[in-house]
Amino acid sequence: GCGQKPAEQGKEEQPQKEASKILRVGIISNPPKLDPVFATDTSSARVIYQIFETLVDYDNDGNVQPLLAESWDISEDALEYVFHLRKGVKFHSSVAGEPTANGGREVTADDWIWSFNYILNPDTNSPRAYFLDMIKGYEDYQKKKTEQIAGISKVDDYTIKIELDYPFAPFLSVLAYNTFNVLPKEDVEKHGTDQFNFHPVGTGPFKFEEWIQDDKIVLSKNENYWAKDENGNQLPYLDGVEFGIVTDLAMQWTEFGLGNFDIIEEVDDPYYHEAKEMPNFIERAELATYYYGFNLTMAPFKDNKPLRQAFNYAIDRQGLIDIVRNGRALPASGALPPGMMGYDESIEPKYTYDVEKAKALLKEAGYPNGIKVELTYNTSDAHKRIAEALQAQFKQTGIDVSLKNIDWGALLDAADRLEMPFFRMGWTADYPDPDNFLYVLLHSDNIGPNGNYTGFSNKDFDEITMKARTETDPAVREELYKKAESIAREEAPWLFIYHYTTHGLAQPYVKNMRVPFFGAYSLKYTNLDIEK
C-alpha cells in the first residue's frame, strides 16, 4: 500500500495540489483495532496515537508531561490526584467524511468521567481496564455493585479528581497508556462498542477518514486541533497521514527505497547498514527485554539454578548482537532494561560468555554430559534468526537445543498454561516503571496469563516488589528494585538475552523526525512536516 498514483501524478501535480502534504507511513500489519479501548498492539497504537489523546504523556526523556491535563496536584499520601484540564480541546467534528455526533464540541470534565467509566465498565470488556485497578471503587464497579466508579469525580467543568486505594507510584505513567483516552459519548453510543472501531473519534491532531482493510488507513488533519507551535502556527503541519499496510519487512524496505513511503515502521537487520547511513534514521534504547523463559515448574529447570545459570553463561550475547543483529541491541544480564529505575550495571551476577563456567555449572546441575532441551518460539524471521544463532552457540557447551516454532496464538496459550520448558518471550514496558517489569513478569501473583510465564515464585522477591509498588519515596523504591533485580539475576528464571533498541526511519524531507522515549510506535505526527 503505497500512496502515489504514478499515472495521475503527472496530471495532478499542479501547483495548488502540491501543497497537500500527506505523510505515508508503512506499517507491518492491519491494525486489529482502532478503538483505543480494545487495542493492545503497536500497529494499532501507531494510528491511535494520532487520533486520541490521554491526560498526560512523556517528554523525550521519559518524564511525564501535560497533554490534555494542563497540570495536576498529588496529595501528600499519594492517594488523590487532581487534574486541571486544558481548555479549548475539541472532539473531531467529522469522521470518515461525515459530521460526528458530538458535533466537534469542547471536552469537559464530564467527558473524562464518562470515558473512565466506560473503559472500566465490566460490560465493555476492555483488555486494559485492569491497569487502573488501584483506583478506589474499581473492585465494586467491576462487580457491578456501583453504577459509577467511586474514585473518579468531577470537581468542576475543567477539573477532575481521582482517588486511589493505595499509593501507586507509577500511576501517572499508567494514565499515559494509550487506552485511557477521552472519548465522545455521543459517537461511542451512536456506533456502539462494536462499530466505534470503524468510526474512531477523538481529540488528536488527525481525524479518521478511511480504512481499507489490509491495505491502508487514511487520516486527515484536524483543523480544530488545540495545539499551536512556538510561533503560534496551527498544528499539525501535515494535511493527512496514510498508513500503508505491507506485511513483509523486506517489501516495506523496498517500498521505502522506491519512495513510496515517508516513514517505515521497522528496518530489518539486513538493511540496517544501509539505513544507518540515512539522514533521518534515529535509534535509541527502548525499555524492553528479549528473553527466553525457563519453566520453573517442570524439569529440567525446576529447582535447578545452576542449570539456568549455565545457560546464561553459555551464550555470547555481544557476538550475537554484533553479528546477527548488527549491533542493534544491548546485552542483557538481567530483567530490567537500561534507563529504567533500578537498573544498575554493577549488580551481580553478570552473565558473560564463559563456556568453561557454563560447563562447570552444567556439571553442578547434574548434566555433565550435556543436556537436550526444546526451545519454543513464535514464527517470525527475526526470532528464527536469533534462535538459530543461539542454538549453534549452545552446542559448544554441550547444550543441544532443538527448535520448535508455533504461532503467536499457540505460544501465548502454552505460556499461560506453563506448558513449555523453554520458550521465547520479550517484554516492552507499558509504562516506564520497574513495576511493569519485575512485578508483572516475575511476581508469583501474576503466574499465568497475567505475565509471569516462568512460574517464578520467590518470597523475598515477592515481598520486595509488592512493597515497592506502594512506596512513594523514589530513592527507596530504587533501592528495592535493585534488590529485586539482583534476586532475579541470581535466580535466573530467564535466559537474559538483550535489550531492544527502538528506531525510526524517515525520508530526508520529513522534518522534525524523532523517536520518542517510549518507542517509535508512540510517535505523534503533530509537528512533523514535509518539505520537498
Binding site: A7, F38, P127, I212, Q213, D215, G244, N260, D407, A410
Partner: protein, 308 residues
Amino acid sequence: MLNYVIRRLVGAIPVLVGVIAVVFILTTIVPGDPARIMMGQRGNPETIAKIRHEMGLDKPLPIQFLDFMKNALTLNLGKSYRNNMTVVEAITTRIPVTFKLAFFAMVIAILVGVPLGIISAVKQYSWIDYGAMFFAILGISAPVFWVALLAVVLFCVILGWIPGTGTGNGELIYYVLPSIVLGLRPAALIARLTRSSMLEIVRQDYIRTARAKGLSERVVIMRHALRNALIPVVTVIGIEVASLLSGVVITEQIFSLPGIGRLSVEALTNRDFPVIRGVVLFMAFIFVLANLIVDLSYPFFDPRIKYD
C-alpha cells in the same frame, strides 16, 4: 438447464457442509484461544473468560456447529473476533482484489497457454515444441514465492517498471506482476494440456475429413480442431481456479494485496474462527461454482453434452 443448475447447487450442499465440519474440527483441535490473543501478551483471566463467553466459545462444539449452520443459511456468518466486522463484509470488501487478481491471472494463463499449446502441437517435435514445453514444465516447477521474489527485485527494484506492491489507488499496473506470477503455473498447465489434447484431436478422423474437404491448415486447426481440443482444457481451468485460490494466499502475502488470501492467513494466525469458517466456506463455494460454470460451458464446446 436451470433445473440442472439448481440440482448441482443443491448437490453441492453436502460438500459444503463437509467442508465446514472439517473447519470446525480443525479450529477446535488447535491450540490458541482467540479471546486470549485479543488480550495481547498480557491478559486478565476474568476478562478472557468473559470474552470467551460472549463469543460463544464455551458452548459445546456440536451446538456451535449447528448454530453456525443455522446462521449460514441466512448468510449470517458471524462477526470477526478481531475487529467486529461482519464476516460477510470482511469477505466482500476483499473480493474485488482477489477476483481481479485471479481473473487477470486466468486471462494471462489462457492467453499464453492456449496459443503456446497450439503452436507446440502444430510444430510437434520441432525445437519450438521442445522449447515451449520445456519452459511450460519449468513454469510449473518454479516455486511461486520464489518467482515472485525474483520478479519484484527485477521489475520493481532494478528496472522500476512496476511502482511497487499493494494496490496503490487501484490502478491496474499493480496487478500486472502478481497476476503474471500467479498465472504462470496455470499458463504452463494449459499449454501442456492444449498441446496434448490438440495432438490427440488432430489424429481424429474428422480432422482428416476436414482436410479432405480442401480446407486450409489454419481453418482445420483453428476451427475444427481447437474447439474439440479445448474441452479438456476447460476442465483444467475449472480445477485450476481452485488451486489459484491457494496460490492467491501466497501471492497476496508477497505483494501485499488486500484480498481473501491475506484475510485467511491473518484470520488463521489470530484464531479468528468466524472469518476462517467464512473464508473457507466462501472458497469452497467458489470452487463448486467454478466447476459448475465449467460444466455449464461444455455444451458450448461440445453440443453432445446437454443439461436438462
